[in-house]
Symmetry: C2
Subunit: 256 residues, 2 copies
C-alpha cells in the first residue's frame, strides 16, 4: 500500500526539492518503487532529471485538469524503481496557473488514487507557498516531511506553517501525520546553526529526525548533472545522509 509523503514548507529555499529527489532515489536504490510528483510550477523535479519542456508529454497539469489517464503523465528515469510526474504548468503561463490554482482542493488526491498501490512511496515536492497547490498535496498525503534550514527566518516561519497543517488535518485529512522534521544545510561549525538547532529540537520535541543533511556541494550539483547525488557521487556526504534518512524512515515503520 503506497504511502504519499509531501515535502512541504512555505519558507523558500530550505531543501524541499533536494529532499524529494535524493530521498526518492535512496528509497529506489533499496528496492522500493517510488513516484515523485512535482506540484511546484518552478519545475525542480524536471531540472533534477534533465527533463526539458520538450521531453514532457503530460504532467501535473493533466493531473489537475484530469484530461488524460494519470499513467500518461508518468515518466521513467534512468534509475530503476524511480518514476516522476514533472510539473508542466510553467509559472509564466498565467492561464494554466489559474486553471490549477482554482481546481478543487482534493483534485490531486483523486488523480493519484488509481496508482497509489503501484508504488511504495509517492513523494510530492511542494512550492514555497500555502496556496491551492500545497493544499492539494497535503489533502492527498498520508504524511509530511518538513525540511528546516537552520536559520532564523526559517525558524520564525515554522509556527505559522504548523498552524496551517493542523487546519488541513482537522478540516480535510484527519489521517495526515508528520513523518518528521528534517534539518537541512547543516554546518556544525556555525554557532548560528547550532543555536537554531537547539531551538528547533526544543520546540518540536522528538519530531526531528536523528539524521540531518549537511551542507554539501554535491547536492547543489544535482540539477547540473540531471541526476540525484547517489548516482553521480554515491560516496558524498550528501548522498549518504539521504540514504541514512531513508533507512531511518523505514525503521520508523517497523517499530510502529
Amino acid at each position: 500500500m503506497g504511502e504519499v509523503i509531501s515535502i512541504a514548507s512555505q519558507k523558500g529555499g530550505v531543501g524541499k526539492t533536494t529532499t524529494a529527489v535524493n530521498l526518492g532515489a535512496s528509497f529506489a536504490s533499496m528496492g522500493h518503487k517510488v513516484l515523485l510528483v512535482d506540484v511546484d510550477p518552478q519545475g525542480g523535479i524536471a531540472a533534477s532529471f534533465g527533463l526539458s519542456r520538450y521531453d514532457i508529454k503530460a504532467g501535473t497539469l493533466e493531473l489537475f485538469t484530469q484530461s488524460v489517464d494519470v499513467r500518461e503523465a508518468i515518466h521513467e528515469t534512468e534509475i530503476e524503481n524511480l518514476d516522476v510526474i514533472p510539473c508542466n504548468v510553467w509559472s509564466d503561463e498565467e492561464e494554466k496557473r489559474r486553471l490549477i490554482g482554482s481546481a478543487a482542493e482534493s483534485r490531486l488526491k483523486g488523480a493519484l488514487k488509481s496508482i497509489k498501490n503501484a508504488y511504495d512511496f509517492i513523494i510530492t515536492d511542494c512550492p514555497p507557498s500555502l496556496g491551492n497547490l500545497t493544499y492539494n498535496a497535503l489533502i492527498a498525503s498520508d504524511s509530511i516531511i518538513v525540511p528546516i534550514q537552520c536559520e532564523y527566518y526559517a525558524l520564525k516561519a515554522l509556527g505559522r506553517f504548523l498552524k496551517m497543517t493542523r487546519a488541513v488535518k482537522e478540516e480535510h485529512n484527519p489521517l495526515l501525520r508528520y513523518r518528521g522534521f528534517l534539518l537541512t544545510m547543516v554546518d556544525m561549525r556555525s554557532n548560528l546553526t547550532k543555536r537554531v538547532i537547539e531551538k528547533v529540537k526544543y520546540t518540536l520535541k522528538g519530531m526531528v529526525f536523528d539524521t540531518y543533511i549537511p551542507r554539501n556541494v554535491r547536492l547543489a550539483e544535482v540539477p547540473y548533472y540531471g541526476q540525484p547525488a547517489l548516482v553521480f557521487d554515491p560516496r558524498s556526504k550528501g548522498a549518504k545522509a539521504y540514504l541514512e534518512l531513508a533507512k531511518e524512515i523505514l525503521v520508523q515503520d517497523s517499530q510502529l
Copy 2:
C-alpha cells in the same frame, strides 16, 4: 518623486527579504526616506525589525482591503528615515489569504499612490511565487531588483521568471524596468558559484550589478537581532556590500 522597487523572484530562499531590509537600511543611512512594504505572508520584514503580531495595528492586509488610511499601516523603526508596512496576513489564516489573493491586481498601486511622494524609495519584499501578491507588487512598481542565488535551481528558474515579468510589463505596467540582477550568497571559493555566475552574466549581459553580496553570517543574524546588519555590525562584509549596492543604484540614476 518616490521610486517603487520590487525585490522579486519566484525561487525561494535567494535573499529577497535580506535584500529589501539591508538595501532599505543602506539608503536610509545615506539620508534617503525609505518605506519597506512586506507583500509576503511569511512576514520577513516584521521578523527583521523585531515586530511581533501584537505590535502591528495595521499592515498589508489593510492596504489590500482598503479598510484604513495607508498612513495607519506605517510603522516607524529605530532607524531614522526608515519606515515599514509589515505583512499582517498570516499565512495560516486562510480567510485573510483568500481575501488578498482575490483583490484586484492594481490594488497595491492604488493604496501606495497617496504616499509615494513622501518617500525617496518604497521597496516591496515579494513572496516566492507568481501569484496575485507578486502581480500586485510588480504592477505598483517602477522597477525590479531580482536577487539570484548562484546555484543551478535558481539559474533554471530564471528564464520563466523573466517571461512573466515581461508579460506584466506588456499587459499592465509599460514603464516597469529592471533596476538590475543581484548576485547573492556568493562564495568565490566555490567552483559551482563561479560557473553559475559566468552563465548568469552571459545570459543577462550588462544587467547584473557590479556589486555582489558575499555569503556572510551577519546577514543571517538580522532576524535574531531584529535589526539590519548595518546597525549591529556596520563593518561586516554583508553590511558593506549592501551599502555599495545602494551607492551603485544611486550612481545609475545620476548617469541616466
